[in-house]
């Protein structure tokens, strides 16, 4: 069993510049017709990749230089739209698997889905994200360290500040991001709280 602690993720990164990249783009809806998450990885960003390809470009997810990346870097409001967990599940299954995401900001549901899967999402300033993206583009083999505990991203001789709220950070660093067991521990308190709510017993 893999160590669940997510204090730090080190690897190469794939840059995906842009604001408001929604979960329909991360994994188009037609691939949600499934009963397991197993085969989603290869379809990550499928329609975007096709479109970029058609106009003669190469989408970063099709670019061989980023094929080993385990860290994704994007701009503002990443993962907005649909609540589909299939989005982070697809990213986790793309090639070696995305294990951390850095962006200027995240949509809330996407962020929560990532935390419960043990994928840290950290926010950095526009300038720092753009510096990081430029550094990766200049050297796709650049080793990037996402230090969740210290709220830093380190690459080359640079270190930028990257934040994650206290609660999720604590969950990831201590390895308690899979919450089912922890929530179940409070069974007696759950029922006690229910008893205080008039509708639970039909008023």
């Amino acid at each position: 069993m893999q160590d669940p602690k997510r204090a730090q993720v080190t690897g190469t990164a794939v840059p995906l510049a842009g604001n408001d990249i929604d979960t329909d783009r991360i994994i188009p809806a037609r691939f949600l017709r499934c009963v397991t998450f197993d085969d989603l990885g290869e379809h990550a960003f499928e329609d975007d990749r096709l479109q970029v390809g058609r106009t003669g470009g190469t989408h970063p997810f099709d670019d061989a230089v980023y094929a080993d990346a385990t860290i994704l870097v994007s701009n503002r409001n990443f993962g907005c739209g649909s609540s589909r967990e299939h989005a982070p599940q697809a990213l986790m299954r793309w090639h070696k698997g995305i294990q951390a995401v850095i962006a200027e900001s995240f949509a809330e549901i996407f962020f929560g889905n990532c935390v419960v899967l043990g994928v840290p999402c950290l926010c950095a300033t526009t300038a720092d994200v753009n510096t990081l993206i430029a550094a990766i583009k200049a050297n796709p083999k650049l080793e990037v360290t996402v230090d969740v505990a210290k709220q830093q991203v380190r690459f080359g001789d640079r270190s930028i500040s990257a934040t994650i709220p206290d609660g999720p950070r604590e969950q990831l660093v201590s390895g308690l991001w899979d919450t089912t067991g922890e929530l179940l521990e409070a069974k007696a308190s759950i029922e006690a709280t229910a008893k205080t709510l008039p509708y639970f017993a039909g008023f």
Binding site: A17, G18, N19, D20, D22, D24, R25, P28, A29, R30, L32, R33, C34, V35, T36, F37, D48, L50, Q51, N75, R76, N77, C80, G81, S82, S83, R84, E85, H86, S105, F106, A107, E108, I109, G112, N113, V116, D166, G167, E170, Q171, S174, L176, D178, T179, T180, L183, L184, A186, K187, S189, I190, T193, A194, T196, L197, P198, Y199, G202, F203
Partner: protein
């Protein structure tokens, strides 16, 4: 200092503070559909867990169900497999399944309120971002992912942080031809698609006080498009009138106790808000989106904005939108030729949405333009039956619309209703993302149902006030 409804409901449902600093929050109602639940049920089986409160869990089928016929087995074998899985899981865990066979099926955010499952003061979750719809009743309702669906199935609770609260007041009187859809598109345009991140939205003011429950649902539904995970309206006499007599609503003396309880949950007059936004109702025009996010919109009479009118860090998405849509900045949105018109979805698929369109179709006697494929898709079987009973199905068909079975249909491209190629669709749904309606190059213009009908008749984007002489 008083408390907002959000704080009262959050606090009363807090089981405990977790070591991480988050809160363990009890869920009043868990709604389940076929797309985001199969993996959650599989995880339960793997971990040998059961559903803690099956009586507070309700399932239906909406995303994948075909709307030309609901006959089983579905032609799409993947869709059929998903439904079989859902039926199996409901049976195994004793969850009530609102099935097509029983006439209870529909979009999860339409059937919940319809049955009286959605009540004030509840915490409501579903593996669907448009769960914010249920906030119309004064509930704290939000979308979750599949692993959280697992958590709620197993424990009836979630690990959550507490949001800030932004009160959005719309005061004054909406002008004729301006609808709830225009109000929410206007709010999203003002505050941006990310403006609501970290906030719960409390909608208030004259306009919301006068709104019907279905209009409130339209606005709350799209809270998430403005980044707010949940949005709500304080419960009032309109809420109670809607709920009274519904299947799952309390009755007799329990009803009186319920109303008293619900009243106590309303935001206090001196409640603390982290932010307050005020909008004049008279300033709101019929809105049409022109881009690839729900905030990229314009009053129907205005021009598609120039890139220079946006903040520098917006321009990337704006340029992307012009390119994807094939629109020129400075050109009119009115007159853009459409291929498809879609009226339905969890935003605008309720009885009053269709009735308003029928009123204008009947009065004008106008028909869908040739070459436009126009779909009317009721949000639930109940809505469909009500429309048929009123004879509205015939009005739609005579005007050239296809009148379909209940489901999510062309909102999201998981069933056979899809755009083809670069088709342009006037749509009463909630998302104009790239590829959202099923073609990777398909294009969506969001607007109110009456504006969709006006576009269908004109064959191009039109001002419904002109088409239907709304004064």
């Amino acid at each position: 200092m008083g408390k907002s409804l959000y704080e009262k409901v959050f606090d009363s449902h807090t089981v405990r503070k977790l070591p991480s600093g988050q809160y363990q929050l009890l869920m009043s109602l868990h709604l389940v559909h076929e797309v985001t639940s199969p993996q959650a049920f599989a995880m339960l089986r793997e971990r040998k867990l059961t559903v803690m409160h099956p009586e507070r869990t309700f399932a239906t089928c909406d995303h994948i169900i075909p709307t030309h016929t609901q006959l089983r087995p579905f032609q799409d074998t993947l869709a059929e497999q998903m439904l079989v899985e859902l039926e199996k899981s409901c049976k195994e865990h004793g969850i009530r399944y609102l099935s097509p066979a029983k006439g209870e099926q529909g979009i999860v955010h339409v059937v919940g309120p319809e049955l009286g499952l959605t009540q004030p003061g509840m915490t409501i979750c579903c593996g669907d971002s448009h769960t914010s719809t249920h906030g119309a009743f004064g509930a704290i309702a939000f979308g979750i992912g599949t692993s959280q669906v697992r958590d709620v199935l197993a424990t009836q609770t979630l690990a959550m942080g507490k949001s800030k609260v932004r009160r959005i007041e719309v005061n004054g009187k909406l002008r004729p031809g301006v609808y709830a859809k225009d109000v929410v598109l206007d709010i999203i345009h003002r505050l941006g698609v990310q403006g609501g991140v970290g906030y719960a939205y409390e909608y208030a003011g004259d306009v919301f006080d006068r709104f019907s429950m279905e209009e409130r649902m339209t606005v709350c539904n799209m809270s998430i498009e403005g980044g707010a995970r949940c949005g709500y309206v304080n419960p009032d006499a309109t809420t109670y009138a809607y709920l009274k007599g519904r299947e799952m609503s309390p009755t007799g003396e329990a009803w009186d106790r319920a109303v008293k309880y619900w009243e106590s949950l309303r935001s206090d007059p001196d409640a603390h808000y982290d932010d307050i936004v005020q909008i004049n109702a008279e300033d709101i025009e019929p809105v049409v989106t022109w881009g690839i996010t729900p905030a990229q919109s314009t009053p129907v009479g205005a021009m598609i904005p120039q890139p220079t009118s946006f903040h520098a860090d917006e321009r990337g998405v704006v340029e992307e939108a012009y390119e994807y849509m094939g629109f020129q900045p400075g050109s009119a949105i009115k007159g853009k030729k459409i291929d498809v018109a879609f009226i339905g979805s969890c935003t605008n698929g309720r009885f009053s949405d269709f009735e308003e369109v029928v009123k204008h179709l009947k009065k004008s006697g106008k028909k869908v333009a040739s070459g436009v494929r126009a779909l009317v898709v009721p949000g639930s079987q109940t809505v469909r039956n009500q429309l048929v009973a009123a004879g509205y199905d015939k009005v739609f068909e005579e005007a050239g619309f296809e009148f379909r079975e209940a489901g999510c249909s062309m909102c999201l491209a998981m069933n056979p209703d899809k755009l083809v190629g670069r088709e342009l669709c006037a749509s009463s749904s909630n998302r104009n993302f790239k590829g959202r309606q099923g073609s990777p190059t398909g294009r969506t213009l969001l607007m109110s149902p009456v504006m969709v009908a006006a576009a269908a008749i004109s064959g191009s984007v039109a001002d419904a006030r002109e088409v239907f002489s709304i004064h």
